[in-house]
Symmetry: C2
Subunit: 191 residues, 2 copies
């Protein structure tokens, strides 16, 4: 998505060789008109898939998912809740996701009421690094006996291997902008 790459170049902030901050439009302040076009771009990529529901994880993923849903006929959005591990709650699917950036592990939880056997689920990830968040969401989908129709990532840091790992497990991943490397403060995209 050309507009996204330009926006990242213009508004993103590269920190070192691994971090890109996009809190101007994706992670803290939200450019809603732009996110609507992101949703449209996901529809284009997944137009051959019948989607019953969108699954994401709080917090920033909610914005992207909510502006993607209208392009898929206003399917419901479900967001996994993050919590520290080891609080047992009944009636939920759960999976752990490690954040390499933050050095933490979260437990993602989704109520069993909101994922049904046979549902075709589009997983939405706002910023894919090692793919841990999407992997945990896919685990939850499968616990429910539902099907991962695909994974849509707004931005992917290609060099951290998330989408490769997910594709090896058989998932279809569509990233709207893939960062190849960050070099001397410059963000270089894969073609």
């Amino acid at each position: 998505m050309q507009e996204l790459k330009e926006k990242i170049r213009r508004e993103g902030v590269a920190i070192g060789t691994e971090i890109v901050k996009v809190d101007q439009f994706l992670n803290h302040q939200l450019d809603v008109a732009f996110l609507d076009r992101v949703g449209q771009a996901f529809k284009l990529r997944f137009q051959d898939e019948a989607i019953d529901k969108i699954l994401t994880v709080e917090a920033s993923g909610i914005a992207v998912a909510c502006l993607t849903a209208p392009h898929f006929g206003y399917v419901p959005v479900v967001f996994a809740k993050k919590a520290a591990p080891n609080t047992m709650i009944e009636g939920v699917y759960e999976a752990e996701a490690r954040s390499f950036t933050k050095g933490t592990v979260s437990k993602f939880r989704v109520s069993e009421r909101f994922l049904k056997k046979g549902d075709r689920i589009l997983v939405i990830d706002d910023f894919m690094a090692h793919g841990e968040a999407s992997m945990a969401l896919c685990e939850i989908v499968e616990q429910a006996g539902a099907k991962v129709a695909g994974i849509g990532a707004v931005i992917e840091k290609g060099f951290q291997g998330g989408s490769r790992k997910l594709r090896e497990r058989g998932y279809r991943v569509e990233s709207l902008a893939v960062i190849e490397k960050i070099e001397d403060g410059k963000i270089v995209f894969e073609e």
Copy 2:
């Protein structure tokens, strides 16, 4: 908002005399088409206000804010991040909010870059109880020298006094559905 009251009656779950669960459409699963009409209802209530930006807090508030923004000409949404108190970060506005339901205190944080002096801010609250979350957001708006144009709550538990407290401080509060009481598992709305 009549449709909202009916939806709460139909899909909400009353627990005891103080809690109403609306995770079917507002707090966990999100009914995006419905939230679009919630955004439209906020526009009707605040049509006399010029709004520059919408401020809310993660997580559920993001969904409501993102579907409200299009009705206000796609103004940017900013969401406050919640964190445990006492991690110092520079360049942020912060205010504390107590959750009576959870018995916890969160520190809400917004980067100074995203609120400017003179900005007219619409504060969005998905579920107002004692009004602590909205109060903290208003404090942050005022730290920035911006102006609270109004507070829009989707659901308010009127008996917990949040909007009264906020109005006493001079804020305009518009709640789309006000719960007067919960009695024998029945949800009673104010007229």
